[in-house]
Every structure is written in structure tokens, then in C-alpha cells.
């Protein structure tokens, strides 16, 4: 089909967190404009955190994002602990990892079943899928899995959104042995459901679109990194956390300093696909089998495969959850004294939020009030990469006509599972 004129203006893209527009203009068969535009109201986190006392900081940081509140809390707690020179106990770390398993399940399933699946099933929303006899059971399965993630967060953290129990150097409330045994049963029972999820997504036809780019994720020598690790790049290898500004600046600001252009590409990607591209070898056995079954192998440069990477990671974290519960049962939950020696200093905390690398960097005064705060949010690292992808995707699929092209553009952006409500930094970085 010869397409000479296309005018796509997706105002406030649906089925994503936050507000963004897609604009594509083609005239006389020539692509004139391709733009991924962020219209979210600025949120001012730096200002929110400035001057606050240490014990409220993770409570506020959590409110940056409802969907990844645990990630923000943990990055925040790690930053505060690093600033004060605190090393949390093994029990605290295991509980945090388990809390994290809950968030990854909840967040991935929300995206896969509620936000992405309707595209593949030709529906506008999960609500209409619930009304369709053909798909209802699949959706109910998704909702059960989602609830598993929420129930883990409730049991370990106190509630599913902005959990209360995690605090600096410990947990204000500890789960009982019965709680852990219950979770163990729930996690084990989820395994057959995961198999069904893999089959569902195996049936979806993803566009065969690839564009080479750089993938950045945390990496840990002993484990698939979620809450601790170094910064790892598929282009340049490892970097320490305190080098994050170089990494983020280097690749996040397309029109920035000369140093940037010298180093490598104009953009990079973070998130599930970036993690699997960096840490594939450390996936748990069932997750690896799922990856095989779904044809996901590193280095995969198809951004639509981020959906599949999330499927694989969901399997991975359920296996991890079973393992974490076993470890916690083995060591036995103990009441611990929560001691916080406040002092002046700077600390950096980094985690892999469901949507990718998340960094909090705080400087405290000697009384434990924040002097300066900086957060690097996953989605703002992805914005430039989304823009580049769109620039390559549009000319390649021009012959499909306006409607199909619009859907492809929307699906591409959705594949990144963007969380725009927390990405104010993009503006900040671009305009400096």
C-alpha cells in the first residue's frame, strides 16, 4: 500500500502509568515528525525530600510511585543506610528480597495482563475481556497471580501499596512462621498458573522488530540482581554505584557534552529485557526453561520482547520466593533491635525496580535531615530509547497504513511498561 499522508496524534496514551503523547506526521510519503512527548505534571521529588528527617524519608520516597512503592522504599532505605554506615542483618535482607518478589509479581502481572494483553487479544481493556467468555478465565488467572504478589507484600510489608513495615535497618513488624508457611504454599500453588501464563504469551504474535541499543541493569556476582549490585552495561561492562551520574548522564542526554557522544550510543534501555540481557545466566531453572520456550535469548534487541522478559522474570521470582521463604524458615524469624546511628554523609541506594534501574542518592546533615537528594528513575532512562525506537519503527512499517501503525507505536511504548508519573527527571536532564 502506498501511504503518502499519515497523521497520528495519540493524546494521553492509555494503558500506561502517567501521561504521554505519540505524534507521527508523514506527508508525501516522507516522515516529517516522530515524537514521544511527556505531558505529566511535574512532581518535584527533590524538593519533597529536601530538609526532611531520616525516619520519614522512605515514607515520602515511597509516594513517588504507587506501582513500585517497594522499589522506591528500598532504594531510599539503602541510601540512608549507606549514608549512616549501617549494614542490615541477614534477616532484614531476606525479608526485603521477599517483599520485592511480591512487588515484581504484582507489577509485571499488572502490565502483562491488564495493560499489554488487551492489545494482543484485540480488546480495549481488561474489563471487556472479563465480559468475554473466551478470555475470562485467562484474565481471572492473571488476577489470581496479581493477588499473590499483593498478598506477599501485605504479609511481609503490611499492605500492598506503600507498605509500612520496612524501616531503616529493619522491619517494624515481622511475619510469623505461620505467615511464611502460608506464603510457601501460595507460591508453590502458583507454579501451574505460571505454566499457563507462558503458554498464553507464547501464543501472542510479537512484531519482529529489532534495533541494537545498550542495555543497563544491576549485576551481582552471586545472584540475579534485584536490590544489590554493580551497574552493568551490555556495551561497557561494570561500573560502581558512585559512577551512576556518568552512566546516566552519558547516555540519557542526547544533546549533552562531547564526552557523551564519544562514548557510545544516543540512548539505552533499562527494565526486564535489559536485566535478562545482562544477567540471563543467573535466571532460575524454570525461568530459563520459560525463556527457551518463548524464544528469548540474550542479546535480544526487540523491544517488544520486554513483555516476554517480564513473563520469564515472573517465573524467576516465584522460584526465588520459594527459596527465600525456605531460608527464612531455616534461620527462624528473630526479634531484632533496630539501631540507627545518625551521622552526616552521603549514601547511594540502587535497586532494579520492575521497570529498571532505580537510584536514590542522599546527603544528610549531622542531625539526620536531608541536605540534598537526587533520584534516577527507570522510565526517564528509557524515554530516549523509546524515541529512537519510534524513529526506526515508523519508516519501517509505513506501508501498514495509519491505523496499524498507530497501534504498533502504542504497543511499542507499552512494551517498555513506562511509568511516566515518576519520570520528572527527563525534563531536568534534557534542559540543562
Amino acid at each position: 500500500m502506498e501511504v503518502s499522508r499519515i497523521d497520528i496524534n495519540v493524546h494521553q496514551l492509555t494503558r500506561v502509568e502517567g501521561h504521554g503523547n505519540i505524534i507521527v506526521k508523514v506527508s508525501d510519503g516522507k516522515v516529517e515528525e516522530v515524537r514521544w512527548e511527556i505531558t505529566e505534571s511535574p512532581r518535584f521529588f527533590e524538593v519533597m525530600l529536601q530538609g526532611r528527617r531520616w525516619k520519614d524519608v522512605h515514607v515520602i520516597a515511597s509516594r513517588i510511585c504507587g506501582i513500585c512503592s517497594v522499589s522506591h522504599q528500598l532504594a531510599s532505605l539503602e541510601a540512608t543506610e549507606a549514608a549512616f554506615g549501617i549494614r542490615p542483618s541477614e534477616q532484614t535482607i531476606l525479608l526485603r528480597k521477599l517483599l520485592y518478589v511480591g512487588e515484581v509479581i504484582e507489577s509485571h502481572i499488572l502490565h502483562l495482563y491488564l495493560l499489554a494483553a488487551p492489545d494482543f487479544l484485540g480488546a480495549g481493556s481488561v474489563f471487556s475481556l472479563l465480559d468475554s467468555p473466551e478470555h475470562k478465565d485467562e484474565v481471572l488467572r492473571g488476577l489470581r497471580l496479581k493477588k499473590l504478589g499483593n498478598d506477599i507484600m501485605e504479609m511481609i510489608g503490611g499492605r500492598a501499596v506503600h507498605p509500612q513495615a520496612a524501616t531503616v535497618n529493619g522491619f517494624g513488624r515481622l511475619p510469623s512462621t505461620e505467615d511464611l508457611l502460608y506464603l510457601q504454599g501460595r507460591l508453590r500453588n502458583a507454579l501451574p498458573e505460571l505454566e499457563a501464563m507462558v503458554q498464553l504469551f507464547k501464543g501472542f504474535e510479537l512484531p519482529q522488530f529489532t534495533r541494537e541499543t545498550e542495555y543497563i541493569a544491576l549485576k551481582h556476582p552471586q545472584e540475579y540482581a534485584w536490590i544489590y549490585g554493580y551497574i552493568s552495561s551490555t556495551d561497557t561492562g561494570l561500573a560502581t554505584l558512585d559512577q551512576y551520574l556518568e552512566v546516566a548522564n552519558e547516555y540519557c542526554v542526547p544533546h549533552s557534552t562531547a564526552k557523551f557522544a564519544k562514548h557510545a550510543r544516543e540512548s539505552y534501555a533499562v527494565g526486564a529485557l535489559a536485566r535478562i540481557n545482562n544477567n540471563y545466566e543467573q535466571l532460575n531453572p524454570m525461568a530459563k526453561m520459560a525463556a527457551d520456550e518463548l524464544g528469548l535469548k540474550p542479546l535480544c534487541c526487540n523491544p517488544f520482547m520486554n513483555n516476554i522478559a517480564q513473563v520469564v522474570e515472573t517465573v524467576h521470582v516465584v522460584e526465588e520466593g520459594i527459596d527465600l521463604v525456605e531460608q527464612l524458615l531455616r534461620i527462624g524469624i528473630q526479634e531484632e533491635d533496630i539501631v540507627v546511628p545518625v551521622k552526616a554523609g552521603r549514601g547511594i541506594g540502587a535497586v532494579e525496580a520492575p521497570r529498571g534501574l532505580l537510584i536514590h542518592d542522599y546527603t544528610y546533615d549531622e542531625n539526620g535531615y536531608i541536605v540534598e537528594a537526587n533520584c534516577v528513575i527507570p522510565t526517564n532512562q528509557n524515554h530516549a530509547n523509546i524515541q529512537r525506537d519510534l524513529e526506526v519503527l515508523v519508516p519501517r512499517y509505513l506501508d501498514r497504513g495509519e491505523n496499524e501503525l498507530r497501534l504498533l507505536c502504542e504497543m511499542l511504548v507499552r512494551s517498555y511498561d513506562p511509568c511516566i508519573s515518576c519520570s520528572t527527571h527527563m525534563l531536568r536532564l534534557e534542559l540543562r
Binding site: R15, R63, G66, S125
Partner: protein, 246 residues
């Protein structure tokens, strides 16, 4: 006729909308009882003909004022959900700093181009019909309010302080452990979940109708808080209610 429902997001973390989606078990029933016609975060379909508008988030830009006015015109009922929408919540922190400083801190030289105004709760911009407090909202409360509306009743708004429920669930008072808490002046209805969850009440559901602020300040002071920390305590979720507690 099923009531037509719209869910809108303004400046916020979207956690309260997420709480609606977290009603996993109830979702089939909710979908059966309500006609959800606009909910951008999860729906591509949309319509402007709604009866009830649930609003997540605060108003922080001029363009949001216009959007709110339009929603008010179309909806029979406007119901803000969550601390951001009901109180201004954490978004009000920025009001504590001069607006030019806030913009400069984040946008540097480009500051004058940004549309931002002091954060406000929804009721400060348009009249509202009811509100569901909390950061985040409690799922069970959301469902109860929906049921009451469906039954044609005025929804119930708790006005006992968090302390009442806290004692009922058998928590040890955090003041006895050397911590501080806003439970005595905060609107209950959350079963004191944060105290039960191992923390303290931060006041996210807002102040009760006639809070004894002086008594609260006294116990905070007795617990060793400085004036600065008392302000910190109140301003966590209630910065926009400064006139009541300052």
C-alpha cells in the same frame, strides 16, 4: 441502569487507582455492578458521559484546573480518592518553599516555561460530593462507598480518631515505645493499619473534624520533639491544612 464510572488521574503516584485495580477478587462483581467507561491507566475506550467521577491526585497546574471544571460539569458526583486529592497530601511539600525556588531547583534556566501552581486538594478547586481518604485508599472502604452509592445511601465517613481503632485492635501505643504518632487527631477508618504494620500513624487520612491540636502538640513536645519536628510531623500529609495545625 448501572452507574457510569470514570476514574481520572491528576498529580499523584497513581497508587489510589492501583488500589481499585487491587480489588482482584471483587473485580468481576465490580464490573458487573458498574459501567466503567473511562479509566485511562487501564482502558483505551473512553467516554465523556459519566455519572460518577473518582479523582486521584492533586491539582498542581493551570491546565488541571480547566480539566477539573470540565469534569465537574459532566459528572453528577465527584469523589476525590486518596490523600493527594482530599488533602493535597505529599504534593503540598512544594508549597512550603517559594514557587520560584521549586522551579529553579528542578528546571534551572528553563523554569519560567513551566506551568505549576501551589498544590491543592480537589475541593479547593471544584465542589465535591464525598471523598475517600487515605494514602493509599483502603480497598474495603472504596467498595463500601460504591455499595452505599448503589443503594442510594449517603456514604459513611468515619470521624473517630485512629487511636480508637488502634486500641480496639490491641496495639501497644507507640508513645509508650518512645515514638510519636498523629493517631489522636487523624481520621480513623483504616484500622490503624500503620501502627499494626509496625510503624506509626503519619496522618494520611487527614485531621478529624474537630481535632484537639494543642493537646497533640503537647504530647509531641513531651515525647521530645522540637518545634521543627512537630511541623515535620504535621506536614507529612497535611501541609495544605497548615491553617488548622499551625
Amino acid at each position: 441502569m448501572k452507574p457510569k464510572i470514570a476514574v481520572f488521574d491528576f498529580t499523584c503516584c497513581e497508587g489510589c487507582q492501583l488500589q481499585i485495580l487491587n480489588c482482584e477478587q471483587e473485580m468481576p462483581d465490580l464490573v458487573a455492578a458498574l459501567d466503567i467507561i473511562t479509566f485511562r491507566e487501564v482502558m483505551t475506550e473512553r467516554s465523556d458521559h459519566y455519572d460518577i467521577a473518582f479523582i486521584d491526585g492533586s491539582c498542581t497546574t493551570e491546565s488541571e484546573i480547566a480539566r477539573l471544571k470540565e469534569i465537574r460539569q459532566r459528572a453528577k458526583m465527584v469523589i476525590p480518592i486518596g490523600a493527594c486529592a482530599c488533602l493535597g497530601g505529599v504534593n503540598c511539600f512544594k508549597n512550603l518553599h517559594p514557587m520560584e525556588d521549586v522551579l529553579k531547583a528542578v528546571y534551572g534556566q528553563a523554569a519560567p516555561y513551566y506551568d505549576t501552581i501551589p498544590a491543592r486538594p480537589i475541593h479547593a478547586v471544584i465542589p465535591i460530593d464525598f471523598f475517600i481518604p487515605g494514602c493509599p485508599i483502603v480497598k474495603e472502604e472504596f467498595i463500601r462507598v460504591v455499595q452505599e452509592i448503589l443503594a442510594g445511601k449517603a456514604p459513611y465517613l468515619p470521624n473517630d480518631p485512629v487511636c480508637a481503632e488502634c486500641k480496639m485492635v490491641g496495639n501497644v501505643c507507640v508513645f509508650d515505645k518512645g515514638q510519636t504518632c498523629l493517631g489522636p487527631v487523624t481520621r480513623g477508618g483504616c484500622k490503624a493499619t500503620c501502627v499494626t504494620g509496625g510503624a506509626v500513624c503519619w496522618g494520611c487520612r487527614g485531621l478529624i473534624d474537630e481535632p484537639n491540636i494543642n493537646a497533640e502538640k503537647e504530647i509531641l513536645e513531651k515525647a521530645g520533639l522540637s518545634i521543627k519536628d512537630i511541623v515535620e510531623e504535621f506536614s507529612l500529609f497535611n501541609a495544605c491544612q497548615e491553617d488548622v495545625w499551625k
